[in-house]
Symmetry: C2
Subunit: 341 residues, 2 copies
């Protein structure tokens, strides 16, 4: 029997965060979800509103927080380009200040912290597939830099907290992940294609559609995060699906699975858009005995079913009454909103 923990998940109302909360609760842990609901939604957590071991804190990750936990999964940050480019300065500060706040909390609690880093730290990579020792190719002053450089700087903070303060850190570099609960308007290619196909609209390809990506189903990504957190390795470790496909192939899969006869249309490639990105997951295989298990067609089928259900039902107001943490106990000397279970 594995022991159970008190766990803080930041970004808990997001796509990935909400699946992570589900899995942690299934395994018997107590979970405190934190989210400012800027790109996450209450809907993603509505099914947990009566869960006895789940609590929710609506707060920005950059604000002080007083809480006693054993594990922190730091996922808070808008992650799709249309979201993270709405307030670029805010995005950078969310990554850097948010990670700093959570590292301070981890240091205070003696907690272990897993940082959700990203394949974006490789930028538009010159090395394929990308190994963890590749240093990346990021334009510091481009429109994606707010996310890329914020996440790079957050990795730096993690390893300096390890060296300088002995905080147990785990850094996962998460590649493209897809699955149920992605936002229909988050601007990522899988959700774009599915929404367009289900609406019978044209499927938009950028560039010539020959650029490649690798897509990992969310259950696989979450399993990787859980294994990394409980492993002895700090990382950074790539978590992604090494099966590389072109945007043309993805579009064809989505059309076939939805039975849509939508047409393909082409648009110019946005600035600094990576032409190709694919993880080398040798390290995750060796250290975590981890590799993706869900084939693309199966993952797409589950994602399409979820989108079809959500698009078919009239949109309900996002007002799930989540079980709030009580503001009782001030633990962190530096102050901040004090919350307890």
């Amino acid at each position: 029997m594995p022991s159970t923990h008190d766990i803080l998940v930041t970004g808990a109302a997001g796509f990935l965060g909400s699946h992570l909360c589900d899995r942690l609760l299934e395994r018997g842990h107590r979970v405190m979800g934190l989210d400012n609901l800027s790109s996450g939604t209450r809907d993603n957590l509505a099914h947990l509103q009566s869960h006895p071991r789940f609590r929710f804190v609506e707060q920005n990750v950059t604000a002080p927080l007083a809480l006693q936990v054993d594990r922190i999964y730091n996922l808070a940050c808008p992650a799709s380009p249309p979201h993270y480019q709405q307030d670029p300065v805010g995005t950078t500060l969310t990554s850097v200040l948010g990670t700093w706040r959570m590292l301070e909390l981890a240091r205070h609690c003696g907690a272990r912290l897993l940082q959700a880093s990203t394949s974006e730290i490789y930028g538009d990579p010159a090395q394929h597939p990308q190994r963890e020792d590749y240093h990346g190719d990021v334009n510091t002053i481009g429109p994606r830099a707010c996310y890329d450089e914020g996440k790079r700087c957050a990795e730096t903070l993690c390893f300096d907290y390890l060296r300088q303060h002995g905080v147990a850190v785990r850094v996962a570099r998460i590649f493209n992940t897809y699955g149920p609960r992605m936002l229909p308007d988050d601007g990522r290619v899988v959700s774009n294609f599915i929404v367009q196909a289900l609406h019978g609209a044209d499927i938009t390809l950028y560039g010539d559609g020959g650029q490649t990506r690798c897509f990992c189903f969310v259950d696989d990504t979450v399993e990787g995060l859980l294994r990394l957190m409980e492993s002895d390795s700090t990382g950074p470790v790539n978590l992604g699906n090494p099966h590389e496909i072109t945007m043309h192939v993805l579009a064809a899969e989505v059309l076939a699975l939805t039975g849509s006869s939508a047409q393909l249309v082409y648009r110019p490639l946005p600035q600094d858009d990576p032409r190709r990105r694919c993880p080398d997951i040798g390290l995750a295989r060796r250290l975590l005995d981890w590799a993706p298990q869900v084939p693309l067609a199966q993952g797409l089928r589950r994602t399409i079913d979820d989108f079809a259900r959500r698009l078919a039902s009239p949109r309900t107001p996002d007002e799930a009454a989540l079980p709030l943490a009580s503001a009782l106990l001030r633990v962190q000397p530096a102050g901040g909103q004090a919350v307890s279970w």
Copy 2:
């Protein structure tokens, strides 16, 4: 006649900052120097203690500051590896939070901000010489990352303040600079060699001594900063001396100029130490009509004379009574220490 400005210089008590203050005062501006004296010294500004147009604020650049100025030169950050590695987390926060604070101040004042970025954002470069469109090769989790990634992230914030808030930014990527007032113990090669030669001690070379650097005399660097600030270009612009020399050649020059007969000794190269770094200054030549004017032998002679004078005289306590800014006027709505002339 050029118009004069009210100018804030952060890192004013540092090597580069103090020379910048001198030059700005010579040109008729009012100068507010800010420094927390972590690696800067009062001695560097002691000659300004009676200057009618100079004021000093002892404060961390990351703390709020209320002040009305037209120009901000943001130089505050420890810049030599032994200094910036003493408190790596503090170094990253100084760059990121400090630049954010100063950009907010610039936004509030309608001031123009020049960010002192660095050749370190190129990491251990694969391209020689480095042009501004080279994206660099930085290890996000290495011992130099606190400085390199902090400075990269600061560049990102500058360009997002330009795009998002219309702040007039100027970004200079400063390469190795040397000259009078370098700290004898700052661990940089020019000061190390000079101190060792003047003491008749062995000259320490790292690796085989064949790695190259380019050294720019401080007067040239300051002239580049002044020109960039008053130009119409945002940058980033490299400011450095493209004349590339090996550590062996530098050691020989210093030995010749000091008349020392010290021996060379070899030590292992530190982790992530760049093997070679040299600016392409084509952009600075075109946009700013700028190129270094001071030959190495002449710059070294002036630097050696300064070191010889400082090492010969007994070290005086660092207690120059600088003319303090008055804490009178609260200008910035977000609060912070309010200071006026």
